[in-house]
Amino acid sequence: MEYEAIIGLEVHTQLLTETKIFCGCSTKFGAEPNSQTCPVCLGMPGVLPVLNKKVVEFAVLLGLATNCQIRRSNRFARKNYFYPDLPKGYQISQFEEPICENGYLEIETEQGKKRIGLIRIHMEEDAGKSVHDESYVEANETLIDLNRCGVPLLEIVSAPDIRSPQEAHAYLTQLRQLVRYLGISDGNMEEGSFRCDANISVRPVGQQKFGTRTELKNMNSFAHVQKALEYEIERQTELLKDGKSVEQQTLLWDADKNIAQPMRGKEESHDYRYFPEPDLVPVHIDVAWFDKIKQSLPELPQEKFERFLNQYQLPEYDVRLLTENREVADYFEKVAALFDDFKMISNWMLGEIARVLNEQKISINQLPLKPDKLADLLQAIRKKVVSTSAAKKVFDFLLSNDLSVEQAIEKLGLKQISDESEIEQFVERVIAQHPAEVESFKAGKTKVIGFLVGQVMKLSRGKANPQLVNQLLQKKLKA
């Protein structure tokens, strides 16, 4: 019998607001423990939450970008449970009236495009962190860092529409790209600002009813998600094949051992006793506010992809890479506004620039070479001021030197020689030095011309215009 997996993902993404969701504390990552706290996020007696409006705006942006219905009047609820990193003994979240519902995300699969439904997106506050690090604490002690407590989160709950680890990966990639495009989250899974839990069950192909599901937690990278899902699908499938049944439980992924282990029973059986948060009035998004948010919605990845295809007439492969990241696309467009050989820009961005970003592990915004300079450099190539190979040297030089393209070419002495009489001298010397090759050319082995061009280039220390070299060589040899 064939089996298929039914997967639903719950993603928590930390928002890039300056301040926390219910107080004025900073959300900066990596500060001294408990330095970014105040009576409100510490849950002192007598404090009250005040909603950060930016969080609502970010939630609406993501809702619009994922085709959700936006609940213009929504409200917060308390999720009650005891934990040391949860100062109030409850988390302010949303329950019956989330801000976004019934959306979808379109992913690419081997069988083509597929829609993954989004059940809901809601706003909530993050909890703090328990520190068990031995360098801080003595045996049997736990320290609490509440810097993260109150950092805004969006929880994005997918429908059980995902059928394979590959689809899960595509969904996560798409979602992460989206939150980054919108500028609402950095989507960094390793640092914990983008977290994913999975609900998973397996059923025989053709069966309508869902099987018993398990919940998978503690997957800290895209790779872990895929591995964990593969592991769990196989485990459940084996159980069913053996005529056994799957037990409903929560499993924690152990990335070192590559296995999923059941969570202890006690921590699982929560009754969160949700009820509407009485300290906050319902969130009402009036028409003016809604329109303002809507207007700030940037061009989305798919729209950008299609526009690039049309506008720049580039191969799909190039466009896919150029629009993967909003900043990269912006960079491209800034260059394209100054220089109209789009394929040439693309080649440079996907070649030299991609290499540098990769080597230096920086984002394109941190690249010292700004778009206008790249445009100047490409212009110089086109005007034959430098050869392509020389231009690469100029490019590298400009990464660590704040000079204009012209100055850099000058400084490196790479100005291309396009003076025919000068090149002619090089050509004549090469012909004289390589009689054997000249002979074979004349005998019909025209491929040898490449070698001769190389020799001329070498002699000119790369500065000769290769096309001119080629022309002049052909002329002399055929003469």
Binding site: P39, L42, G43, M44, P45, G46, V47, L48, P49, V50, L51, R78, N80, F82, P84, P87, K88, G89, Y90, I144, D271, R273, Y274, F275, P278, D279, L280, V281
Partner: protein, 472 residues
């Protein structure tokens, strides 16, 4: 002395602020057996009095409450002072910040003489549920002062202050005001910022005022009322000038008397006393009419479901992790929670946390909490409809006068019924006031309650001032 007289006297240097503080401290000392205070700020009050005097003699105006001595219920934060909520669990908790009301009163020139005793976390109707012992009624120390703001009532009644802040969730100001013969107001929900008030039941809690006269009550409310950006539930509704509206003619007010509030269970003498006043009002030209408020009978049940549900969540933060009492000698986290909360909370608080946890539990939520919220909406509608016909509603504040210490403490249901006439105003979020209405043959005072629509506190003062004049 009335607040307006204090202002005149201190500005003309006919009264010394320092001397008034000394007198207040002496009253506290003389009445220490009533157990009204959890903390007395003698040195700070003296120092503050001196500062204010210096400012006055330097020609400065410290504000409209200059030298007004106030006592503060011990569930309202004053920066650098303990906020105990009369609980062992917060016995040594020092608040790092001022409540908004404290900040406003301070800026207006008030002096804080001390923090007052109360039912633990404001849960109770007699101020007997205090970790620091019961508060006693100054008119007869064998009787309760009412609750939960009993200490604040007593502080005003004994002259230890000019006015006091209390808090209400279901009658915690009006009922003790009634038991001690004072004016006590529960403002409209959202009228006064709750920032810095330790939450019991967030959707019902509201800070209010005790004073000896309607005018003084209005003078304090004037300062603390108004929107606060730190409290999202505080309303952006204008605060009218109470001093000018207080003297409007009462005859323009249509007064409704809900039959259900004068039915069985009400002490006959109290009924007579209240009706004597309403008859007098009618005689002087007011339009007084009886009407029905049938949903009143569901108010107590509704109240105890909503209040305990919210309390079970609001009090979850007292877990021994970050501040307050932590039980010693525990082996693990679960035991630390259990032991801390078992030892740190008193019996009534634990009862309400358990009740609240139960009504929010999966499978019970719809039957209790959700249903209660629906009934609450109906009660609110019923009242709003009544207010289409009547400008104010007049009722007794409590069914009886103060009861004996210990008399009802072991019978929570009877105790809960002491709030029967007051909880409706909290559920509906409207404003209400207690006015002294006379003395019972048992020697104890009783009160008359006036309710008005949301944000119409001036009507309470308007009618209150009239009744006050009739009484004197």
């Amino acid at each position: 002395m009335q607040i307006s007289d204090i202002q005149k006297a201190v500005r003309q240097q006919k009264a010394s602020i320092s001397r008034r503080v000394e007198e207040a401290l002496k009253k506290i000392e003389q009445n220490s057996h009533l157990n009204a205070f959890t903390q007395v700020f003698a040195d700070q009050a003296r120092e503050r009095a001196q500062q204010l005097e210096e400012q006055l003699s330097a020609g400065k105006n410290p504000g409209p409450l200059t030298g007004v001595i106030m006592a503060i219920k011990d569930n309202i934060n004053i920066a650098g002072r303990r906020t105990t909520c009369a609980s062992k669990i917060l016995e040594n908790f020092v608040s790092p910040f001022d409540a908004t009301v404290i900040q406003r009163l301070r800026e207006a020139g008030a002096i804080f003489i001390g923090k007052t005793n109360m039912d633990e976390f404001a849960m109770g109707s007699s101020s007997e549920n205090s970790y620091f012992g019961s508060v006693k009624n100054p008119l007869n120390p064998d009787y309760v002062a009412g609750g939960s703001s009993g200490g604040s009532a007593v502080a005003v009644a004994i002259g230890a202050c000019d006015a006091a802040l209390g808090s209400e969730t279901g009658g915690s100001i009006r009922q003790p005001a009634s038991f001690t013969g004072l004016v006590g107001i529960k403002p409209t929900y959202g009228r006064v910022s709750r920032y810095g008030l330790v939450a019991y039941a967030s959707s019902l809690d509201q800070i209010g005022v005790f004073a000896r006269t309607v005018q003084d009550t209005a003078a304090i409310l004037q300062i603390i009322a108004g929107h606060d950006e730190k409290d999202s539930t505080s309303a952006e509704v204008e605060v009218v000038d109470y001093a000018t509206t207080i003297n409007r003619d009462f005859k323009e007010l249509k007064i409704g008397l809900p039959k259900q509030y004068f039915a069985d269970g009400l002490d006959a003498e109290i009924r007579e006393g209240i009706l004597k006043i309403t008859n007098e009002l009618a005689k002087q030209g007011a339009n007084v009419e009886e009407f029905d408020l049938p949903l009143t009978r569901y108010a107590i049940a509704t109240y105890y479901i909503i209040a305990t549900a919210e309390a079970s969540s609001n009090l979850a933060r007292y877990d021994g992790v970050r501040y307050g009492f932590r039980a010693p000698e525990v082996d693990d986290l679960q035991e630390m929670y259990a032991s801390t909360r078992s030892k740190g909370f008193g019996k009534e608080v634990k009862r309400r946390i358990l009740l609240g946890t139960y009504v929010l539990s999966a499978g019970y939520y719809d039957a209790y909490y959700k249903k209660a919220m629906q009934v609450r909406r109906l009660i609110k509608e019923e009242l709003n409809n009544a207010f289409k016909k009547y400008d104010v509603i007049v009722t007794p504040t409590t069914p009886t006068t103060a009861f004996k210490l210990g008399e009802k403490i072991s019978d929570p249901l009877t105790m809960y019924l002491m709030d029967i006439y007051t909880v409706t105003a909290n559920l509906a979020g409207i404003c209400a006031i207690n006015l002294p209405a006379g003395k019972h043959s048992n020697g104890l005072p009783f009160g008359l309650q006036v309710m008005a629509p949301a944000f119409r506190e001036e009507r309470l003062f308007q009618l209150g001032a009239t009744i006050e004049r009739m009484q004197s």
